[in-house]
Structure formats: C-alpha cells, structure tokens
Amino acid sequence: MEETKPKLKLAVYWAAACGGCCVSVLDVHEKLFDIISAADLVFWPIALDTKYHDVEKMPDGYIDITLFNGAIRNTENEEMAKLLRKKSKILVAYGSCAHLGGIPGLANFTTKDEIFKRVYFESESVVNEKNLIPVPEYKAEEGTLFLPSFYNDVRALSQVTEPDYYLPGCPPQSERLLEVFKAIVSGAELPPKGSVIGAETKTQCDECIRKKTENKRIKKFYRPWEIKDDGITCFMEQGVLCMGPATRAGCGYRCIKGNAPCRGCYGPPPGVPDPGAKMMSAVASIIDEKDPEGINKILEDLADPAGTFYRFSLPVSLIRRKIL
C-alpha cells in the first residue's frame, strides 16, 4: 500500500465490557495488517501499554477514530467516555454494550445494594469474615486511595456522551468493522451523525433463509433443546422464540446459521423505541389461545421473558430499569 495519506490515529477502549469486542477487532485476522498500515493504534488497553494520563495529554480531536466498547457501570467508565469524546474526531459506540447497554445492562433488573450483597457476602465462593466491602475512598498512611464508584444504573454510551456512530453486535461481525473502517479511510462520505452503521435497516428475517409461512400462531413455546430443529423452518413456527423479527440484520444471521435462534444483539431496527416491548407485543399477538388460563399456561413455558426480550437493550428501553 502506498503512503499517500497521513496515517489515521485509532483508539480502542473497553468500559464495562467482557473483552469480546476487543477480541473481535483481532478477529479480522490477517486484515489487521491492512488496518495497521492505514492507521496507528494510539490507545488500546488490551494490547498496548498506553496510560490514561497519556490520553489526557493528547490535544482535543487528536484521535481520528475511537471504537468505544462496553457499557457505563461506574465513574471510571463515564470519565473515560467523556475524555475520549473530547480527544476523538469520530467516537463509535462499538458493540451492544456501548450501543444499548448490552448484557451488563441486565443488572438494571436489580440494584447496586443487591449486587454488592450477593457478590461480597452471599456468593458460594466468597469468604468475607470481616464483612469488608469496597469503598471509593480510603485514607491509608501513604495517602488517600481511590476506587471508581459503582453506579446503581448501567447506561449506554449515548446516555453519558454523544457518540457519532453506533456499530451494533455482541460483538460486531468483523467484516462489518472492516467495511466501516475502509469507508472512513477511503474518505467516502459518511452517514449523518447518530446513525447506526455496519448494519441493515430491515430485520434478520429479511436475510434469514429459513422457510417462513403465514402460520406464525404459537400454541406452545419450546426451549431450543426441547425440540428437534428441522434446520429449515423458521424458529418461531417451531415454537422457539427468535428475536430476529425485532433485530436489525447485518450479522449475516450468524446464530441462525448455527441453528440457534437470534437473541437480538444487533438491536432494534429504526423507529422502534423499545425492542423488548415491541417483541412482547408481537408475541402476544400470535398466541393461539383465547381463554385467559390457557394463555397463562402457554406463557409459563416462556423462560425468563424479561431477560429474553430485553437481553441487550434494557438501559435504553422505555422502562430502563426495575423500579420497585
């Protein structure tokens, strides 16, 4: 590749993340060399030993692109989100956690106190005889020590700062990252700020090649292991809840190809403010029973409805968290 343009400066950061998103950047395999030849990685905690104060020293707008993954769980996450916003020309909410709150966002079904109680006192693997609990500030002989404070709510990146783009997925499909990256490097015209990139506007069912008929009526729900999947028929028509109808296409329906129903990581299509509510309303419409008791019986087989419908999107949904 000829060096005509100055190299881009690229950063990848993880907040409340599992690490999967950072690994997905490596998943581009040998194409990583293309990235490195077009961009210098200036900050990437999983791979480089750059410190936070190095980032603080960078001039504003110094970084061309930051791929920010992970949700906002504590003060450190929020500070870094705001810092990287300032230092970056393009801030991308990368992956479901940054985009929607993601898996960590399911913690909004409980509270900080309940989480601490479970983790520091009740967990089967914990021995905590002195009943210690982390505190954000501790005065030691050497001086005051600080820990980030843990919030009651998990938030998505857009709830603490303004990302330019959202690249969905848990984690995003590596090919889509490459496409987006190439588009930025090539200087092509970028979509309007606030857009979801690297995904389609229609939902999974548009691409999914499983056979669909008009008969979507559900008499009984099954968990995937309870049926013998024929590998051909739409999961919903086999009574297995598939989030595909309420989830943006773009991953190449990769779970369905692997004979598992879609769990919804690519998030809602445009115009759907609350994918969980939308999917619940859809499912309610196709339950094939009129008698209230019969309906309850059918619904009993739907395992963990809240976690299923809101698996990736609770913090950005209309309900946002458990209230009572």
Partner: protein
C-alpha cells in the same frame, strides 16, 4: 417544517363542563403553551356560532392545527372536522380532548378536575403537532354482482340488479333454481302456489341477458375488496367427471343467499322417524300435496292425521330458536287435508301458536273453525308415539300431556307430520370462510348490525339475505334480497368508492417479510406479496383497527393518524410535570 399555529377551544357545554372545570383557567394555561396562537372558551363549541368562530380564526390567524376540548370525539369529531374543511384546512389536523365524559362528568372536585382538563388539553396539543394531512382515496366500483344461491332470495336479488342493467353471476349448487321453495306446494297464509311464484322468477331469469346462471356450481374463492373482487366459480359436474371447469369473474359486490336445510327428524328418536313408516316430515308431506295424493305408506286414505310442531326447534337439546314458518305451514296442512279429505280428523299438537306475520292471525282463526283439534304441550316435554294395537281403528297412538286441561290425552293417528325446523347448511362454514364473514353459534351468518344493518356484513361489499341469516318466511326473505340489491345499486350509481383515510400501511423499506402479521387482520386486509417477499395492506379492506400495527416487531406498519410518535407525544403531554 411549517410553522405551527395552534388554536385551542375550550367548550363549557352549557354548564356540563363549566360547573366543574374552570374553563377560563384551562384556556389561560393553553394560551401559554408554545406554538399556541390563541385559546378561547365558549358556551357551545358545537353550535353554529361556535363552529363559525373556528372557521373565522383559521382564516384570520392562519391557524394550521386545531384542538377542541369538549365532549367525546364520538359525539362531535365529525362536526369539527367539517368546520376545518370549510375553512380550507385538512380535516385531520384536528384533535379533541374529552373534558366532559372523561372529566367533568366523572369528577366532583373542581380543582383536581381543572388540573386534569389541563393535562388532557396539553396531551391534545402535543399530539396535534404531529398530525399529518390525510386524504381519503377512491377506488373503482365494478358494477357486476355475484349472487350465491338460487333460491327465492338469490333469484329476487339477481332480477332486481339485472333489471337495472347490471351483469349478475348467479351461482346455484343444485342443477335447478328454486331452492327449498321448489319443494313447497301452497304457501301460507294466502295459499298462493309456490310453483307459480317460482315459475315467474325462473322464466324472467332465463329471459334476462344480464343474468349468467351457473347451475351445479360453487364459488371456490373470492379475493380482492369492495368494488374490485375476483371470484372463481367451479362446475361441480365436471369435477365428478375428473375435469375442472373454472370460470373467473370480476365483480364489485357479493350477495350470499345460501338458505337453510331442514332439521333431521331422526335425531329425535322418540318420534320413530325412519322406523315408523307413517311418521313423515313436513317436506315429505309437501311432496304428497304436490302430487295431489294424501295417503299412508300402505296406500290408504288416512282417517286421522296428527301434526307435531317445533321438531328440532325451541328446545335446549337441538335449536333454541323458533323456525318461524312451521306454525303457519301446519295450519296450511290442516286446511289442505280438510279440503282433500273432508271427514278426516286433524289434530295439531303445538307448544305456542306463533302467528306473528301479516295475515297469520286471520289464517289461524279460519283454520280453527275448520274443526281441527288443538292440543298444547309443554316446552321441554314431548308427545310420545306408539304403534296402535290390533283392536284400534288407527295405525298409531299419540300420548300428549295436554297443558290447558292438565290431562294426559291419547289421540289416534294414521299419519303423523313432523314440522321440522330450519338449520344452517353443513357447508355454511365453508361459504363463510370463502367470502370472509362470520357465523353465530347456530351457524347462521352474522349481520353487521342486527337492527340497523340487517343485510350488510363486516366485510365491505359482501351482503347476506334470506334464510342463511336466520329462519324467515318468503316475504321477509324477499324483502332482505331486495334490500341488499338496493344497497348495491346505490353504490354502483356512484361509480367509485370512497375509502376512509384512516387505514394502515406497510413501509416496504422496513418490512422484513417475517410474516408475523399475516393471519392477524380481522378483515383479511393483509396479503403477502410472494415476488417481493413482503407484506402489503389492501387499504380498501383495512379498517385501521391497529392490530397489525401493535404486532409488527419491526414497526414497519404505520397506523395512519395513530402513529407511535403521535401516541407517545400524547402520553408525554398528559404526564408533563409543569402544567
């Protein structure tokens, strides 16, 4: 986007609203909401001066959104929409806040009621900002009509429509026209010959070039929507021969006149129908009358004839309804037997004598004078028929718990006529499914309103007439057939059909073809386009009920005038903190 200029009107409804809600305070509150140009209260907004005020204000202040806080939109939405139209504004740029039924009428605390009225007005203001101009669309009205069933109802409707110059496809599954009436001899109460009635109709139909009769045929599919249906008519004879001869026709409206079938008397084992040779049904007796010979199976002239009413009707076990024609038919039989065999003893065993129609009571009186023995039995009870002994001078004996005398009476009979009731045909379900109409628990087709819309159905363009709706006699059947034809003629005269603007539509840029919505529409308005692999709503069929809008998981379906954004804005307006 255009500049919003909102006018808000608070109605006092005389004192209906004003006695609880401080309308001045609500108007003052509204006038301070951004983009509200003016807010006024008035004694009766729906009165002419009230509407005139809106029209004037729209013209003078260039208002482009109107909120009227008054009674239920069910009451006066039309009134205010028409005011907008007169002022040259699209009628859908109006929103009503119901501060009467949902506020002043149900609250007694004026302070709280006023706060609630403000919230309702604020919700309406938030919503009206997102209202869009909507236009109703019109579709072609094809003047051809499909009539299913060639009984007296179907034939009458066909003639009415064809005489006005329209093409009618008349489909009859038997190999002749006439239906059940072709099995009847004289008709009650005036004793006109059924044959004469039918011959007149059939001859006129055969001579009418506008009527295409399909005998031994059935309709196998109906697609499209009012004004623009397509039907497939299948020839049943060719099917038996292993071929198919289908005819496809274009029509604008359909009348279903598939009639009834008689109750199967062998279901009541006590009467011995099918075992005792001289227990026959009314239809079998009609056959004797038509042949001009009343006789027993053995070929003898009966000395005693008994007629039993309500066979299969007015019973918890079979049909709870009254079949409406059998009482008068029974009297007709008494009359005909007496004139054919003057010394024959006729007994008439009934529950109540239902003689409600025109001329029926007179007919009842004249029959009673013809020396018929009337015996009344209790609803829920049943006369018992035995074979007579060798010493009796009759074939059978009937035991009746006579209600008026309170005694058990035994009467002789050589011939017993069972007045079998009417019931829905076995294939009524199939017909209902093909033309997309509903059936009640007894299988009769359901009208869209039992009092005000007796021949229309919930599917626009599909009408029902005659005994397929419920048991009835010939005059009522004919009246319904003519009513359905008149409804259609009025529509054909307009040439076009107006389709309400409040339908839902699928956005092809968002529909993924998941097919989740496909079977949900109560009006069958959703079709799946195989070539595009997407769903589509036929706007002429859609009633804007919103079922599919709520179901579509991709929000690809937009309910016009009820968009998510409009509803959410309304909710936000209602819950806004600073009021």
């Amino acid at each position: 986007m255009e500049n919003l200029r909102i006018g808000v009107y608070i109605c006092m409804c005389g004192t209906n609203i004003a006695k609880i809600v401080d309308v001045e305070a609500v108007a003052k509150f509204a006038s301070e909401v951004p983009e509200v140009v003016l807010a006024k209260s008035y004694k009766y907004m729906c009165s002419n001066p009230g509407q005139e005020m809106i029209i004037q204000d729209i013209k003078e202040n260039n208002l482009n959104r109107i909120v009227v806080a008054a009674c239920s939109p069910n009451m006066h939405e039309r009134t205010f929409r028409s005011a907008l139209r007169i002022a040259g504004l699209n009628q859908y740029l109006l929103e009503m806040a119901n501060i009467r039924e949902q506020c002043s009428w149900v609250h007694s605390d004026p302070v709280e009621a006023t706060e609630k009225a403000k919230a309702l007005v604020n919700a309406a203001i938030s919503r009206v900002k997102l209202h869009e101009e909507l236009e109703s669309v019109s579709a072609r009205m094809c003047p051809n009509v499909l009539v299913i069933g060639g009984g007296i109802a179907g034939m009458t409707a066909a003639l009415e429509l064809a005489d006005a110059g329209n093409t009618v496809y008349l489909v009859e599954k038997e190999n002749h026209l006439g239906g059940n009436l072709a099995r009847v001899d004289l008709t009650a109460p005036y004793l006109y010959s059924a044959r004469d009635l039918l011959t007149e109709r059939i001859t006129r139909i055969n001579n009418n070039k506008n009527i295409k009769v399909f005998l031994s045929s059935k309709v196998t599919s109906l697609t499209g929507y009012i004004g623009n249906f397509r039907a497939v008519i299948q020839n049943l004879v060719s099917i038996q021969e292993g071929k198919t001869r289908d005819t496809e026709v274009e029509i604008g409206n359909v009348i279903v006149c598939t009639g009834y079938k008689e109750f199967d008397a062998s279901r009541i084992v006590h009467y011995g129908y099918g075992k005792l040779p001289n227990v026959i049904t009314s239809f079998e007796f009609e056959k004797m009358l038509r042949a001009g010979r009343i006789e027993t199976k053995e070929g003898k002239t009966p000395k005693y004839v008994a007629i039993i009413h309500c066979v299969g009707s007015r019973s918890q076990e079979f049909h709870s309804y009254c079949s409406r024609v059998c009482c008068m038919t029974a009297l007709k039989y008494a009359h005909e037997i007496k004139s054919a065999i003057p010394d024959c003893y006729v007994s008439d065993i009934y529950i109540d004598m239902h003689a409600f129609g025109k001329g029926h009571e007179d007919f009842y009186r004249s029959s009673s004078q013809a020396k018929t023995l009337f015996l009344m039995y209790e609803k829920g009870d049943r006369p018992v028929i035995h074979k007579a002994g060798p010493k009796d001078d009759c074939g059978m004996l009937i035991e009746v718990n006579e209600k008026l005398s309170g005694e058990t009476i035994e009467i002789p009979a050589d011939l017993v006529i069972l007045m079998v009731g009417m019931e829905a045909r076995e294939d009524a379900y199939e017909v209902a499914r093909i033309v997309n109409i509903s059936q009640d628990k007894e299988g009769w087709f359901i009208e869209s309103h039992p009092k005000l819309e007796p021949v229309a159905t919930t599917t626009d363009g599909v009408f029902i007439a005659g005994t397929c709706v419920a048991p009835k006699d010939i005059p009522d059947t004919v009246a319904q057939a003519r009513a359905a034809a008149a409804r259609i003629l009025a529509r054909i005269a307009k040439e076009k059909i107006e389709i309400d603007a409040l339908y839902s539509e699928v956005n092809p840029n968002l529909c993924s073809g998941c097919r989740l919505c496909n079977l949900l529409c109560p009006y069958s308005a959703i079709e799946f386009l195989e070539d595009k692999k997407q769903s589509h709503i036929i706007s002429a069929l859609c009633k804007g009920c919103g079922v599919c809008v709520a179901a579509c998981p991709s929000s690809a379906i937009k309910g016009r005038h009820f968009t998510d954004q409009q509803i959410l804005a309304q909710v936000e307006g209602l819950l806004a903190e600073k009021l």
